[in-house]
Symmetry: C2
Subunit: 450 residues, 2 copies
């Protein structure tokens, strides 16, 4: 496209190489390809981001911003004719302010690197999406990513104090405040978090840090049935401890982990519950958790960090183990915690009804269930009809149980129809009006998020 | 106004009595009167709220929604010709769902009543604005109210999972989800929280509850100087404990408390630091806090609930004690925690420069400072020029220190000019556009919040 020459002359690093463009058009969602972008821009500074946004709005060219491309809902999938704006080189940690307990970072910083920099000051960055070692802060903000520690520490939104955002027309604005709380004007910051690059381009963030917990206690418990494990999760939530991690893994997934790593976890039970508590001294909380899981068939409990990490490893292996079995479509429903068993049983019914294989693990503390549909199809290829049918039934199940079609991965390309159904026509209209307000030309990641 | 007859015939409880109208036109901000409203409506149900909103939009009549009238920034001040919509009778706690750990309530419920209902299930409602015994959940949501426990538990926004909102045109929408987290679409819920009734009318809320802490530990420490107290606050924040309460009270306020209650707190030091920790077992956290305040001139520490409450009483008396000395203008700046001493010293300088009396207490854990200007003027009367000058200098100080002109009380009538300066023209424009989108007729609490 010759019109793009007007843009590229302003930039330091861009590409129209078909291989690079194809790579920059996908993420980890398993979404079918939607074409080849026109241009890949690797931004070197905020001024380049502003130039790209200004150009896109002026010429009506769709603009898809991406970080590490680790998204699970297709939010960074880019189609024919788009500009892909890669922010992964905006990767500076600008400062850690230990007394304020904040980090000021660029959007392209890998999330785990923020935590590592905080650790040098005895602090930590609480949100820990499964992708923490590969995803960027900007991507986490775009999807309002959750993670294992959400039961106690919440989601990315809870850790974001301020944002630098490039608007669709290229203006740079600062949202939020440099303080731990503020109510000066509307919460536009919260509006941008989770908006998947459709309202603006996040280029920098001020993040809240917390004192790094001195002690961690972990309980790994196996149960004779899924119901027993879910009941134990309820008991843990009301035992007086405030678990930082409260995870359920189903038997099918335990078998996959065994297959990958040569363990024999599946023999220990039908379902696995992993609980972690953290703080200055967790002895009492650990004892309360042990009592809450007393109905388990097999329990390990530890205050030792190395043993904790080993117990957590089983949960961390869940996704790689499933992915070793085929192309994985990772769904992300959330339900009120009291409906957790209904949700997992419902997913198992969907698998039976559609003839698909669906593994389940869940952030039980949040009622956030990840059904993973394993399909026999190449990456980028069309999905088998049975898998699509299963996904649709899972979304319907979530709404039927009073839940949401996405707890922490985002809407992306895959769930728009369902989100509109979830929120209803009036809210859908409001969302579209907000989108038009922020992006009159409709160029920012069009067709995503809402 | 005869046009209002078309509305009142739809309503069950309304008044045009001048005394009732005058009462319904004010709040606790000490804002000067802006006239007498045209109509007071006490809504009996959501349908009446919808009727009022529809009427106001159709006829261009300004509509000011109020709960208990306990606001401190003039958000519920209503001027000539307005309809005042009182939601305090929408006061049902619809349900407590113990397994989900949520409460579903109407907007007019008194905040302390939610906590009391939660307590029956071993749960608690964490946000605790100073007004908790008199303010409503709807009012807390309108201002995104903070409170003493914000250091650990955050603000009202952090406890709101879903809202029922009547839009300007009378439509009722449900924002958020019935789950502990979700990312389905834009965070319109967060936009409404803190918007002071300018974007919609909150009629109901789903609130997050937490397990009620089994143990509470409290440390009350007096220091020879403000600097020592502020240094101790920093030490407490990094000692490994996660204090739920971390408050500073200045010497002037201690003297006022002594005057009110016959104590001799002021003799103990120049500044008072109150720290509370809570959880299943707080022995270790209490010991860490004791160590962090080792530089104090006088320390009391307790694990006993009754003694805790007695120690907290000094802090709770701060505002009544100041109010006993004259009309109190309660300011509400927040700064990065590292600038806390600069903020309090700065306020003292403002008092000296303007010849005003300014007491200071602060949520030190949040960097949220409440300078209270005591003025010699009747409620509702114009403020002395020196007090207005002092307030303006305090706002300027907040911005100079990288802070905000309001941490938790809201913008209301008093700080609009300053909020525009804080956020800058681009964000101010965006906010105004959001306002127009939600309220095209401009009738919802016009002139507030932004």
């Amino acid at each position: 496209m010759t019109v793009l020459a007007g843009l590229t002359e302003l930039l330091s690093d861009w590409s129209t190489d078909p291989v690079e463009l194809a790579q920059a058009a996908t993420d980890r969602s398993g979404s079918p390809d939607t074409g080849i972008p026109a241009l890949l821009v690797r931004a070197r500074d905020v001024a380049e981001v502003q130039a790209v946004a200004r150009f896109a709005s002026a010429h009506g060219v769709p603009l898809v911003t991406r970080g590490a491309g680790s998204g699970l809902a297709g939010g960074a999938v880019a189609g024919t004719g788009t500009i892909v704006l890669d922010l992964s080189r905006l990767d500076r940690i600008i400062e850690i302010r230990p007394v304020d307990q904040v980090a000021v970072v660029e959007a392209g910083v890998i999330t785990a690197d923020v935590d590592a920099a905080a650790a040098a000051h005895g602090l930590f960055y609480a949100p820990d999406p499964g992708s923490v070692a590969i995803s960027t802060i900007g991507g986490n903000i775009a999807t309002n990513a959750g993670g294992l520690r959400g039961a106690k520490y919440g989601v990315t939104r809870d850790a974001v104090l301020a944002l630098d955002v490039v608007l669709a027309d290229g203006r740079l604005v600062h949202l939020g405040a440099g303080t731990l709380k503020h109510v000066a004007g509307y919460d536009l910051l919260g509006l941008v978090v989770g908006s998947e690059g459709t309202l603006g381009i996040v280029v920098g963030a001020t993040l809240r840090l917390l004192p790094r917990p001195a002690a961690t206690g972990t309980v790994a418990a196996y149960f004779g049935s899924l119901e027993d494990a879910a009941d134990a999760a309820v008991a843990v939530r009301s035992c007086g401890a405030r678990p930082s991690v409260l995870e359920i893994v189903d038997g099918l997934t335990l078998a996959a982990i065994d297959e990958l790593s040569g363990t024999d976890l599946r023999q220990r039970g039908e379902a696995f519950l992993l609980v972690q508590v953290d703080g200055l001294d967790v002895t009492a909380e650990l004892a309360a958790v042990e009592q809450a899981v007393a109905g388990a068939t097999h329990v390990e409990s530890t205050l030792d960090a190395v043993t904790s990490e080993r117990l957590l490893a089983a949960r961390r292996l869940a996704l790689p183990a499933i992915e070793a079995r085929g192309r994985a479509l990772i769904e992300d429903i959330a339900v009120p915690p009291a409906r957790l068993t209904d949700a997992i049983r419902g997913v198992q019914d969907v698998a039976a009804a559609t003839g698909t294989t669906i593994h389940v693990f869940a952030h039980a503390g949040d009622g956030n269930v990840h059904p993973v549909i394993v399909v026999d199809a190449d990456p980028g290829a069309e999905l088998p009809a049975a898998a699509v049918e299963a996904a649709d039934r899972i979304f319907a199940l979530a709404l039927e149980l009073g839940g949401t079609v996405t707890g922490e991965h985002g809407v992306g390309l895959l769930k728009q129809r369902w989100v509109a159904r979830q929120v209803g026509p009036d809210v859908d209209d409001l969302q579209r009006a907000v989108k038009r307000l922020f992006d009159p030309a409709g160029v920012l990641n069009p067709g995503k998020a809402i």
